[in-house]
Amino acid sequence: MPTRRTLVAALLAGGIGASVVEPLRSGLDRFAPLSGDVWDAATDSVPETVATPYGEATVRYDDQGVPTIAADDEDSLYFAVGYVHAADRLFQMDLIRRRMRGELSAAVGEQTVESDLFHRQMDFATAAEANWELLSGTSAGEAVAAHAAGVNAFRRRRSDPLEFRLLGYEPEPWTPVDSMLIQKQISWGLTGDFTSLRRATIADAFGAETADRIAPRRYDHDAAILRSRRPDVSFADGTAGSAGGSGAGDLAGWLAGFEWPDGVGSNSWVVGGEHTESGLPLLANDPHLTLLAPPVWYEMHHELPDHSVSGVTFPGQPFVVIGENDAGAWGFTNAGLDVLDVYDYEIDGEQYRYGDEWRSFDTRTETVAVSGGRDREVTVRKTVHGPLLERRGQRVGVAWTGLTAGRTARAVRGLNRSDGRDEAVAALSMFDQPTQNAVYADRDGNTHYHVTGLVPIRRTDGEAVAGDRIFDGSAQEGEWAGYEPYGQPDFESDGWIPFEDKPHADDPALLATANQRVVADAASEYYLSDGYSAPWRGQRLYDRLDELVAADTPLTPADSRALQLDSYDRRAALFVPEILAARPAMSDRARSLADELVDWDFRMVRDSRAALVFALFLDHYRQRVFGPLFDAAGLDRELVPNDWILLHLDADDPWFRDPPIGEPRERESLLAAAVADTAAEIDAEGYERYGDYNRTEIDHPFDLGFLNYPEYPTDGSPATLRNVRVESGVGSSYRLLARFDGERSLSVLPGGNDGDYFSDHYADQLRAWADGEYSPLTPSLTGSPSIRFRPGGGDSA
């Protein structure tokens, strides 16, 4: 008989961890043949008929498990959407709401305690409640409620997905507030950004002058989204502020763990009919998010009598977020606007000074349950600005637009229902969180670009100021008028940039967004951002689009596709000459490796050896250039500058010649050493070409081998339009190529639509994604439905 230890060890072999220590009996309940709970997940199937409290609806799946939901009215449709979301992604939905509520540890145990502590301090849950309060009573609110009822209809079948059975718990009922949390998650991921804290931490460690160079606010380039004829003046400003001396690195490093990983961003472009072969616009979007099993997005088609929509949804929210309807198509990329401010206070015990008065923190003690472990207590404190984040003695207050209620669900519903550009733009004006670059095009040839979202005009003593520093909250610096954390904001307040004044373009003939600077600071009346993404992709996009437009032949959908799959890496174009110039300083082995970069076309394709060398070199070079100094300063290596800074440090830069810590170094030696490191790594790992290293490594949250996706070699790098970042598992989480000329738009998901491990559609699109292929975005309108929703029964809750 296997001992308890060996059986438990078998259960734990994949790495769920000590948190899932369960008595033997419970293990047998789950894994015994025939009776085992886990195997029900292997043999359950979705029933053909489901009772609904609303009207009829049908679901038809295509050969990739992408469903088409058809109904006569919205509530009936969204009930079915909720049901299907649950059938295919319930565990993912539960995981997200648990993460945002700070209740992960209750399900999975010890290893998520830090995450729960952070999410409790931020109290996203109360913000989501405020959002629901604003939304309920609206048509969008009814849709969310119908969707939740659909989720619960599935949940009541007790046909729980495999992951629940492995962990041994059942999902709680789904509520509209949970749907609001889904939106908070994406908003946080895209705009929860502690750049000012990070910059202040670097300034504390290395001095303000160094910080201005290695953590600048702006990059020098001419490819802003809204290009102008004026030079893009860099935004020079004073101090970064102080993060509060020692211990600050700790807080910044800790918070960096809750920001989404480097590389989260996206591409989009819109080309007007005057430049295209069809005379109608082309639109493309590929959001770069964490690549997960199952994917962040869930693809579907919605069919109503008065409109049909196709594209991707977030499981847990009813509407199509990126996609197309009968009238037009739209996409989003992260704008990088500054919607989060950090505050310092004079604190005395449980009080902080705010202006002339002393106020008490709004304090609450909560318990974080830990499955298989010791429960934790966390004290949640709030100031007038929002949550007080605490870490090893350092405390800062945070204001973030996502902590206040927003109308985004109404905006997305509006987009789904829009009958053209004007209605779409009206919908976008309510898209409060997250701030995004929105592009739109319709069948009549209209195009539009608009920055969306609440953007605060922060003021000190009534004067507008930049938000790129830590504010003295006690002195009432950086105030956001109209902002109400955990409540309803005043949307009409002069504390927000008006929609008309946000950067936008009416009927642009050509516009591309890739998270780069939105508009030159000198061309903007308002402070917008304390840092955009480096313009590797932005520059490449505009270079290629300008070339295509300048050439005599009009743009075709094939051009759009080629652009989305472009793997030309501008980092390589910039820096390979420097590597080659340093060859005399290299060892023989390193030099022969560097020689492989000669005559390279700078494309990061999986069959390329040069791409392999360059990709590995970059990581080693970055570690050698920044690592020792950041370590010596006690700073987390998470805080090191990005490749734009790294590769623009010329040999005479003070970072080498006169460093803030340690002895001067020669850039050439560091270069040579990095190539040597690369050679060693290539030999150790046995890599031959880029695809040996650059593979899809898309993991399920459990990181159990069989639940992770297969690994496929793929083209692209963190800096190319065709985007993939192996180290942090980020990349093009969806690819959409929209066209209006009668042919189908194209799309692909990096994975499978169905989160059910036992489904044929668990990972069936991944290879196509890795190979640069697409499928037509075609609803299934004929054939007998997989599921019919019959009225007269079920609960509307």
Partner: protein, 98 residues
């Protein structure tokens, strides 16, 4: 045969059915050694039935890919059923020794 069928039915409801099924099958044999062998046969039959159930549900391959997790039901069955059959050892043999 009857004991085996009853045992299999019990096992679909709860894992204790593996023990009970093994016991039922084992008790039908004259000696402990043959009882345990019969129990093992029952355990193997349960695994085959399980595999069939998965195959009918289209999940056999996916289960095989689960590695150690997919192995647990096999181990459990092949251990529990003969274990159940050892109950035969509590009952005096029909013939003395074997």
């Amino acid at each position: 045969m009857l004991a085996g069928t009853v045992g299999a039915l019990l096992a679909t409801v709860h894992w204790s059915g593996l023990l009970a099924g093994g016991a039922l099958v084992g008790l039908a044999w004259p000696t402990l050694r043959r009882a345990v062998l019969a129990g093992l046969g029952f355990g193997i039959a349960v695994v085959a039935l399980f595999a069939l159930e998965l195959a009918l549900g289209g999940s056999l391959v996916a289960t095989l890919r689960m590695g150690v997790f997919g192995l647990v039901p096999v181990v459990v069955s092949i251990v529990a059923a003969p274990l159940g059959a050892t109950v035969r050892g509590l009952v005096p043999d029909a013939t003395a020794g074997d």
